[in-house]
């Protein structure tokens, strides 16, 4: 039975050798909502996001993203989901324009959107400059433009505010709002609770790979503890 909610995990576990990064995590993110993952370093937030993005396979348990199984239907998951990790994943030897054209070609979007996206990200003046000369914040803005290009139904963000100024943080907010408005779901892991609080509808607190608390009721407590 295919789950209706955009993100569902059941008893999800992931080991790296002897280290257990996730232990039986069960979550459900509903349409049009954003889930904030909180917890100390090494609590399993990034591992959970990477399993949902199909970058890692779960050791045990199951997960569905956009209604598709992350193991047996990984290619379908990648059609509906975008993961933005801590690395912006842009090519230093390409210009901002070229990076976005590459993204457009790879995800089957028209290249004519690229100039508009560069303007949205505030990168128009450096569109034809190699991204190797960009600051971290500028590279992250470019990565955000790439996310916007893909218009995902499910958005997975790992520390999206790192390196961004207030304008850059506003781009993250716009992306999250856009996904929620389209009836999608966002899972966001960050230590910047101040910025994340305004975007999220629910909070899941992880520690040592375990889910300690989950749900809107625990929002304030979890955020304050995480």
């Amino acid at each position: 039975m295919r789950p209706l909610d955009p993100v569902v995990t059941e008893a999800l576990s992931r080991r790296f050798g002897a280290v257990v990064a996730l232990r039986g995590v069960g979550l459900r993110v509903r349409e049009g909502t954003c889930l904030l993952l909180v917890g100390p370093n090494g609590s399993g937030k990034t591992t959970l996001l990477r399993v949902l993005a199909t970058a890692l396979r779960p050791t045990e348990g199951r997960a569905w993203v956009g209604g598709y199984d992350v193991v047996s239907e990984g290619h379908r998951v990648r059609e509906v989901c975008v993961y933005l990790g801590t690395s912006p994943g842009v090519y230093a030897g390409l210009t901002g324009f070229e990076n976005l054209c590459l993204a457009a070609d790879l995800c089957g979007r028209p290249r004519r959107q690229v100039p508009e996206l560069l303007a949205w990200a505030g990168l128009e003046p450096v569109a034809y400059t190699l991204t190797g000369t960009y600051s971290l914040g500028m590279r992250r803005r470019l990565a955000l433009a790439r996310v916007r290009l893909q218009e995902p139904r499910v958005l997975l963000l790992d520390e999206p505010f790192v390196g961004l100024d207030e304008d850059g943080a506003r781009l993250v907010s716009e992306l999250v709002a856009g996904v929620k408005d389209r009836g999608g779901a966002v899972v966001l892991a960050t230590h910047d609770h101040h910025r994340a609080r305004a975007l999220c509808d629910a909070v899941a607190e992880l520690d040592s790979g375990r889910l300690l608390s989950y749900g809107p009721a625990g929002l304030a407590g979890a955020v304050n503890r995480g």
Binding site: A53, T54, A55, R57, G74, H75, R78, E79, V82, Y83, G85, S87, G89, V90, Y91, A92, G93, L94, E98, C101, L102, A103, D105, L106, C107, G108, L130, Q150
Partner: protein, 217 residues
């Protein structure tokens, strides 16, 4: 249509990065040239030694060139983003394969030119050499692309690359040498075309399928 667009996009990206950085062609070309010079000195520069010297230098240069694209992705942290784009990962294989093919053909042309000068080798049978070079590049690029993906996350990857690549590509070396000798002497090459064709067919069929498995692991 979309698959073709993805293939061309990956190949163009790899070639553009190579054009700007030249971090595969220069080391691979220099290495191939050094090998060619050493073999030329050892063999005394007789034209009979030209085909083995050319193909050995090309094969060793290919080891350097084939892995560079994957190394670059690893260094820049772009591999994960590339793998998480929607669409078949076989397209990524074909894109990288195409870029490696172009690099190998450029290396082959350059090394052939040096070999002609160094060994005073005859230039007849160029058509045969071009065809042999093309078929060899297809197979070598397939093996190189697959192994580079396999070794991306292996700490000793750069060391293992030649250890796996060279034994796997011995049929290309043998066929290339025999075909070059046949081209120079005007003799029929016979079964060596078949050896190259079977090698290409095997790795062009197995390569994309295994690539998907390798990058998933």
């Amino acid at each position: 249509m979309r698959a073709w667009r993805r293939v061309v996009a990956v190949a163009r990206k790899d070639l553009l990065l190579e054009w700007r950085g030249r971090d595969a062609l220069i080391p691979a070309g220099s290495f191939g040239l050094a090998v060619l010079l050493v073999l030329g000195l050892v063999s005394g520069g007789g034209w009979e030694a030209a085909p083995p010297a050319l193909w050995v230098s090309l094969l060793l240069a290919a080891v350097v060139a084939a892995g560079r694209g994957a190394d670059r992705e690893g260094e820049e942290g772009t591999l994960e983003a590339l793998l998480l784009y929607p669409g078949s990962r076989e397209d990524l294989f074909w894109g990288r394969w195409l870029a490696v093919c172009v690099l190998l053909l450029l290396l082959g042309a350059g090394l052939w030119g040096v070999q002609v000068l160094l060994f005073n080798a005859p230039t007849r049978g160029v058509g045969v050499l071009v065809l042999a070079g093309l078929l060899s590049a297809f197979g070598l690029a397939a093996v190189g692309t697959l192994l580079a993906a396999l070794l991306t996350h292996v700490r000793a990857g750069p060391l293992l690359m030649p250890l796996l690549f060279l034994p796997a590509t011995v049929p290309v070396l043998l066929a290339g040498v025999r075909l070059s000798e046949a081209a120079a002497s005007g003799a029929p090459a016979g079964p060596w075309w078949g050896v190259l064709a079977v090698f290409d067919l095997l790795f062009l069929l197995v390569g994309p399928a295994l690539f998907e498995v390798v990058v998933e692991a």
